[in-house]
């Protein structure tokens, strides 16, 4: 399988709350630090990318947030303007009148228009070779299939016209595993794992995009090996606990409880990870990123995640 960084267009999706934006930003940062002229595009314009990169607000026009790393946020109306300008050579402002309203109308009337304008812009950047790699902080698991299949859907609805021929080259890019990949981010918890498995199946069945990796975020460290856990269990028994308390001069209960919490969580997570691994096609690599016990977020945490991601990618 072609490595993630050797593709041209990587969609990063995942269930809400698993750290999808963090991982997308870390992947883009890592790529940019390894010589790839990289574009990071936030599709759900919530401003998370801007806050992670600490480089000011993003807009439809990409700006170089860090050396070699450009950031932009998707704006479907701006994408339509750009499209019209490039394809129809229409000086948009003034001629089409209230474009915003017309756009809103068409987008509501013809489903898939917003999706196609998003995917279209991304594919356009790939085709024009403006960047070596385009990393997409894509919609969450519930929406990504709609996004990736928009060109097909439009293709089925629209039989002739400019759009028809346009969707053809988009489909070429999307279905070429040398160019395009999907990465699903998850955490080792029940619901995210369920959704990841479900999504992997849907992606295989309904889209032409290759699932290139499953990235497991926030993996807890393993505190003990088996024999050490036996020691810990004995520490938790009455006499040993009081002896420990006597030695440190305080009640060790909170510390023991925290360790018990960590062990239990790790064990629960391990079960979900096994289920995930056995349900995902064996040819799809799984990457593991550690939980960050940190007070910080923003660029510092992105750098840390990027380092872990790099190790997992074999750099």
């Amino acid at each position: 399988m072609v490595g993630l960084l050797d593709r041209r267009l990587v969609f990063v999706t995942g269930k809400g709350g698993v750290g999808k934006t963090t991982v997308a930003a870390a992947l883009a940062l890592f790529a940019s630090e390894h010589g790839r002229r990289t574009l990071l595009c936030e599709v759900d314009a919530k401003g998370d990318v801007a806050s992670f990169l600490e480089s000011g607000p993003t807009s439809f026009t990409a700006h170089e947030a860090l050396p070699n790393l450009w950031a932009m946020s998707m704006d479907t109306e701006a994408s339509l303007r750009e499209y019209l300008r490039l394809n129809l050579r229409i000086p948009v402002v003034g001629r089409i009148g209230p474009l915003a309203k017309a756009f809103d109308f068409v987008a509501t009337a013809a489903p898939g228009v917003r999706e196609i304008l998003t995917v279209g812009k991304l594919c356009f950047e790939v085709r024009e070779k403006h960047y070596d790699l385009v990393v997409v902080d894509a919609p969450a698991t519930g929406h990504i299939v709609g996004q990736l299949t928009a060109p097909q859907a439009i293709n089925e609805l629209v039989k002739v016209g400019l759009i028809r021929s346009q969707t053809d080259w988009m489909l070429d890019i999307l279905s070429d595993p040398h160019q395009t990949a999907l990465a699903i981010v998850t955490t080792p918890e029940e619901m995210p794992v369920n959704e990841t498995i479900e999504l992997a199946e849907r992606v295989k069945k309904e889209t032409t995009v290759e699932l290139a990796s499953v990235i497991v975020n926030r993996v807890l460290p393993e505190l003990f090996g088996r024999s050490e856990e036996e020691v810990f269990d004995r520490l938790c028994q009455g006499a040993a606990t009081s002896e420990l308390g006597r030695l440190v001069g305080e009640d060790p209960a909170p510390v023991l409880a925290a360790a018990r919490l960590a062990v239990t969580l790790r064990r629960t997570h391990a079960g979900h990870l096994e289920r995930l691994r056995s349900s995902i096609d064996a040819s799809v690599p799984m990457l593991y990123l550690p939980f960050l016990f940190a007070r910080f977020h923003g660029l510092r945490s992105i750098r840390q995640v990027a380092r872990s991601l790099g190790e997992e990618l074999g750099f």
Binding site: P111, P139, V158, S227, L247, V248, E250, A259
Partner: protein
Amino acid sequence: MPARRPPARLAPHGSFDGLLASREIIVACGPGGVGKTTTAAAAAAMAAAHGGGKVLVLTVDPARRLADALGLEGIGNTERRVPDAAFASAGIKPRGELYAAMLDTKESWDALIRHHAPDPRTRDEILANPLYRNISGRFVQSHDYIAMERLFEIHAEGIYDLIVVDTPPTRNALDFLDAPERMADFFSSRLLRWLIVPYRSRLVNFASRPFYQVADRILGTQFLADIAEFFILFQTMYDGFVERARSVQRLLADRRTSFIVVSTLETVPLREAEYFAQAISERKLHLGAIVLNKVLPEYLRDPKGAVVAEKLRDGAEEIAGAMAVELDGAEPAQIRRVLAEIGQNYMDYRTVAQSEAEKQAELSTAAETLVSIPYFETDVHDFAGLMRLGAGLWEE
């Protein structure tokens, strides 16, 4: 019966069970991945168990998760009673009845068309229109409207004392609130009429309008004709739709309805939750409570705990030596590793717990009621787990 842990309430002037007892509709919103679906189900289950009456939890999330949490396989578009046996498994005899339903977008749209269509022919034509099939089945935006529409319908039937609605983690946070209005606006828009005019009257010179020139070049004439046909058909249902959409809007703004925002204390979800809370207030809707899920246990912030943890981490060697007799048989090197690990582990978790506590304190002024549900080491996968989670919400 075991003593119930008092819920961690921070704001003194509201209570969550009071909210559930006094409203007819609770809309749970918030960012994805914070346990919103589970929280909505837990709230409904608690209301049925302790408050009484008929309680329905309606999930509109496209990912089918409520079934997991309720231990029900394949809940469909129609409401189904959660058997008393489920409550019994949690050692509870419910005062009321709990029902659950999931939103099937396609099925709900079809029902709506059947309801509003003026005649069987129009109905069949709409149901067969390729655009309609796309809107109703394939694209997610239509969830927003249909969810609120179905809520309205169920409420109007008057069967349930309380309906708890779980909302989709929408792309644009509060789309679903504006959906009825957008729908009404959409159907009454001049633009819509403008678009379908040429198809009604071939006398209008189609090619003379720049909008059509552009649209035609991009989309092709056939597609435009499909759109137009679709909307000509839809126009026949216009009045019914708009009236309905306005009613839905009124119901959401009514005092019988209250909104709760569910979040965790992680940075990104929290920022989104604050946005939700603000947007709800700005729309003059009732923000009943903020529910914080997966809150780390308080013992992680115990100052004495930190003292012990640091001693264990930094003095592991010495303490291990002293513990060797008590832990007869264990190697001192092994004991040392265990002590150092659990010390470090406590400090790690403490960092996270402290940062969360700070954020929680900041939130305490944002809503009338702020409740927190503790972090459970294991997932909620059965009804007893759901009730355990619900206990964090409830106060009697």
